[in-house]
Amino acid sequence: MNLRTFRIVLWSAVVVVAIAAAGLYMFVKPTTGGFGGGQYTLETGAGQPFTAASLTGGPSMLFFGYTHCPDVCPTTLSEMAAWYGQLGDAGKPLRAFFVTVDPERDTPAVINDYVHAVSDRVTGVTGTPSEVGKMETAWGVYAKKVPMADGDYSMDHTATVYLIDSRGQFQGTIAYDEDSATALQKLKNLIAKG
């Protein structure tokens, strides 16, 4: 084997390994779901089933909160209502889901009244604690009970608005108290993407 043949063999081996690695990556990479994907069945405030597939078919805002929440949750709901007002007709395709992290207290009727007091555009979502837990895991949401002095409890929880495209794919976030102009631009981009 002369040096030239040896070089060709060696380079061929490099190409084969590279193709194999790429193929393995494509194969192993999850093609269904991705971040936020997974199996969970919850219920909307109107009593309709809610699954990962419910986040497809239109761009969506997704927020995790609870009704016994004194500050962040009503504020975020109010901001969602304000964003809808600012978007006007452009906001028509945009959906919004408020998923409870406190399913023990937030029944469908409770969460339905709560969100609709602020905006008819927001859909309340609840479910059994185990199914809500599955959805929290899928979205990397932190939620933890914290006892209060009066025997009641509050929930520490992720307070980010997730932005999801019409294929159900995660596209970005709006942070709590994010500047309104930035938030609006993010929503416009999401809607434009479809």
Binding site: T67, H68, C69, P70, D71, V72, P74, T75, L77, S78, E79, A81, A82, G85, Q86, V110, I111, D113, Y114, A117, V118, S119, Y142, V146, M148, A149, D150, D152, S154, D156, H157, T158, A159, T160, T173, A175, Y176, D177, D179, S180, A181
Partner: protein, 188 residues
Amino acid sequence: MKLLHLAVAALAVLPVIPAALPLIPAAHAASMMSMAPAKPKNWTVGDIVVSGAYARATLPNAPVGGGFFSITNKGNADDTLMSASSPAAGSVQLHDMKMEGGVMRMRPLADGITIPAGKTVALAPNGLHLMFTQLKQRFEKGKSVVVTLTFAKAGTLTVELPVGDVGANAPPGASAPAAPNAMGGMKM
């Protein structure tokens, strides 16, 4: 940026008002939005002055609410807000809220809130606040909530918190825009 945020939100909401109140002439609607507030009050006991007090309107099925104000200690010694109570709620607690890495964390303050001598401590959204639990009824915009504060040195002080919007960041009628989220209030 916060002011811009509030201003933009308030402007965007304006066109909605005539639509939401078709039977009320626009001029009347405008005067309703100003809410003709009483001049913001201060309350004083000993060296303690409480000002800029307000509460946020609560949503249905939310038996909790937040109360906010500034406490100034004009004295030469530190004082501590030890506790609070209200006929409007089963319990009133002193809380601190923090955003950490996108997670909202709320903690009761068992040792109260210290007001250093000569300083002002603000209870405001996203931080220190009064947390009303077991509400007797919803906090409605335009009404007010009575709270009795107990200080370690100055004693007790009863103050009145006018109720603003769900997302209010200032007392109703204060110079800072208090109604960035008026849509929430409009529906109630």
